[in-house]
Symmetry: C2
C-alpha cells in the first residue's frame, strides 16, 4: 500500500480515538463499571473505517473533519455496541473480539448488555449535541435521523434479524445481498449521508456518486469478510477462522467459491474506482481532489486487508 495513504488513515483514526476518549470519558461514580466496559470495547483499536468515510466524504463536500466528528463518532459507537451485543451468548456467542476477551467475558453478560445499550444511547447524545452546536442545525438533526434510520430495523438491526434467520436455512443470493446491504452496508452508507446533510449537499450529484461508492465498498467489505473467514490468519484477524462454515451459513464463498468471490470483489473495486472518477469531476479545490484520491486508495486498502 501507498505509505502516504496509510499515514493519513492512521492520522484520522488517531483524531477519532482522541475524540472518543474525551467524549466517552470514565467517571468515578457508583456506575463506573459501565464506563469501563464501554471504553474497553470502544477503545480496543478497530480500523475506524466508518468515521474515516464520514470525514473524507465531508472533505469531498468541502467541509472540515471537525464539523462531522460528532456524527462520525456516533456511528462508530453504534458499530461498537452492535459488536458487543452480537458477541453475546444468545447471539453469536463469541468469546473473543480483536484478539481480546469479548465484553461479556471481560465483564459479565448483564454489564455487556447495558454497556451496549449505553453506547447506543450516548451515540445519540453526542450526535444531538453536535446538531445543536452545528452552523447548520437542520442539517445536523437530519444527520441524527439518518443515523437512527440506518442503525435500525430497516438498516443494521434489520440485517441482524435476517442474519439470525439465515443461520437456520439456506438463503438465496438476493436474500444474502438484502442482508449485507443492511447488516454491514447501512453503517457504511450513513457516514456519507451525515456528511451530505451537514454540508447541505443532500440530493446532489456529488452525494449520489459518494453514496454509490459507499454502497459498493460496503458490499465488497462483506465479501472480503467472507473470504477472510476461510483464508484469514487467526493471529492477524483476532477471531476464529471457519466459523461461517461451521455454522452452515450461506456466504458469498458458499455461493460463488473463493475464486468467484475474489472476482466479484475485484469488479466491485473497479465500480468504486469509477464512482471516484465521477466524483473527481465535481471537485474544485486541491483538498477535495485529495479526499477523492484517498477514497480511491481506501477501496484498495479494504480489498487488500488481511484483518
Amino acid at each position: 500500500m501507498n505509505n502516504e495513504f496509510i499515514s493519513k488513515l492512521n492520522d484520522i483514526a488517531e483524531q477519532v480515538n482522541l475524540y472518543l476518549d474525551k467524549n466517552v470519558a470514565s467517571k468515578d461514580n457508583l456506575q463506573k463499571v459501565v464506563y469501563e466496559a464501554m471504553r474497553y470495547s470502544l477503545l480496543a483499536g478497530g480500523k475506524r473505517i466508518r468515521p474515516v468515510l464520514a470525514i473524507e466524504a465531508a472533505a469531498v463536500f468541502g467541509i472540515t473533519a471537525e464539523k462531522v466528528m460528532p456524527f462520525a463518532c456516533a456511528i462508530e459507537m453504534i458499530h461498537t455496541y452492535s459488536l458487543i451485543h452480537d458477541d453475546l451468548p444468545a447471539m453469536d456467542n463469541d468469546d473473543f473480539r480483536r484478539g481480546r476477551p469479548s465484553c461479556h467475558k471481560q465483564f459479565d453478560e448483564a454489564t455487556a448488555i447495558l454497556a451496549g445499550d449505553a453506547l447506543l444511547t450516548m451515540a445519540f447524545e453526542i450526535a444531538s449535541k453536535g446538531a445543536i452546536e452545528a452552523d447548520n442545525v437542520r442539517g445536523g438533526i437530519e444527520a441524527v435521523k439518518h443515523i437512527a434510520y440506518c442503525a435500525g430495523t430497516e438498516g443494521m438491526i434489520g440485517g441482524q434479524i435476517v442474519d439470525l434467520d439465515a443461520e437456520t436455512r439456506k438463503i438465496s443470493e438476493k436474500e444474502l445481498i438484502y442482508l449485507c446491504e443492511r447488516k454491514t452496508g447501512a453503517l457504511l452508507r450513513v457516514p456519507v449521508m451525515v456528511a451530505a446533510a451537514v454540508a447541505g449537499k443532500e440530493n446532489t450529484s456529488e452525494a449520489d456518486c459518494l453514496l454509490e461508492y459507499a454502497d459498493t465498498v460496503g458490499l465488497a467489505f462483506q465479501i472480503k469478510d467472507d473470504i477472510l473467514d476461510v483464508e484469514g490468519d487467526i493471529n492477524v484477524l483476532g477471531k476464529p477462522i471457519g466459523s461461517d462454515k461451521q455454522e452452515g451459513k450461506t456466504t458469498f464463498v458458499t455461493l460463488h467459491g473463493i475464486e468467484g468471490s475474489k472476482k466479484i470483489l475485484r469488479e466491485l473495486t473497479e465500480k468504486a474506482f469509477k464512482a471516484c472518477d465521477r466524483m473527481r469531476n465535481f471537485c474544485k479545490t486541491e483538498k477535495q481532489k485529495e479526499a477523492c484520491e484517498f477514497l480511491r486508495e481506501l477501496a484498495v486498502f479494504l480489498l487488500e486487508r488481511n484483518y
Copy 2:
C-alpha cells in the same frame, strides 16, 4: 378516584397508543419478526405515565399534546426497551411481564435483545423527526439530547448498573435514593424536560416547579413499587410478589418497614401537591389550570394504584 380524571387519563393513553401503533408499524419484509417483537412489548398495555406527564406538562406550559407527542412516545419506547432487556435471563430473568410471557419467552433471547435495541434506536428516529418538524427546531433537538442523557449512563442505565451492584450487597439509603433517581426517576423527569424544551420554557420558574413535581412523584413511584412487591396482588400486578425479598435486595421497605414507607409516600405526595399549588400561580388560561389539577390527581393516582 375521580372519574373525570380516570377518563382523561384513559383518553391520553389512547392517543399515545394510536401514535405508537401508527409509528411503530408492522412491515411485511424479511425482518418482520423484529416489528412483531417490538409491538408485542410496546402495545401490551402499560399506564403510559411518561407520555402522560409530557403531555400534561406541555399543557401547563401552554402548548398542545401534538407538539410533544414524538418525544413523549420516544420516552415510552425507551421505557419499553428497558423492560425487555431487564427481563432477560442475564438481567432480572423474569418470564412474565404485564401478565404475559416476557419478550424473550414469547420470541427468543436474540430477538428480544434486538427488539430492545430497535425500540431504543427507533425512539431517536421518531424524536429527531419530531425535532425536524417542530416549529421550534432548536427546542426539539434539545429534547432529543435530554432524552439521550436521561436514558443513559448518568440516567436510567446508570441506575440499572447500580441496581445490579445492589443485588450483591446491602446499600445505604443514600445509595438507594441515588439508584432510584436514575433507574426510575430519570425517565419520569425527562417528560417535563422535553415539554419545557419544546415550549421554549427551559430554566423558568414554572419549569422548576414541574421538575420538582416530577422528581417527587418519581421517588414516590419507586417506593410504591417496593410496597406493592410486598403487599400487591399477583393477578392485578401481572408479575410475581416478593421477588425483592427473595433476592435480598435493599428497598425502602427493608430500610423503613411497610408503615414507615407508607408514611414517606404520603409525605412525598404532600410535597408534590405543594409543587402543583406553586405551578398553579403561573397558570393563566383555564386549560393550564386544568392540567395543573390533572397532575395533582395523577400524584394521588400513583399513590393509590395497586398495579
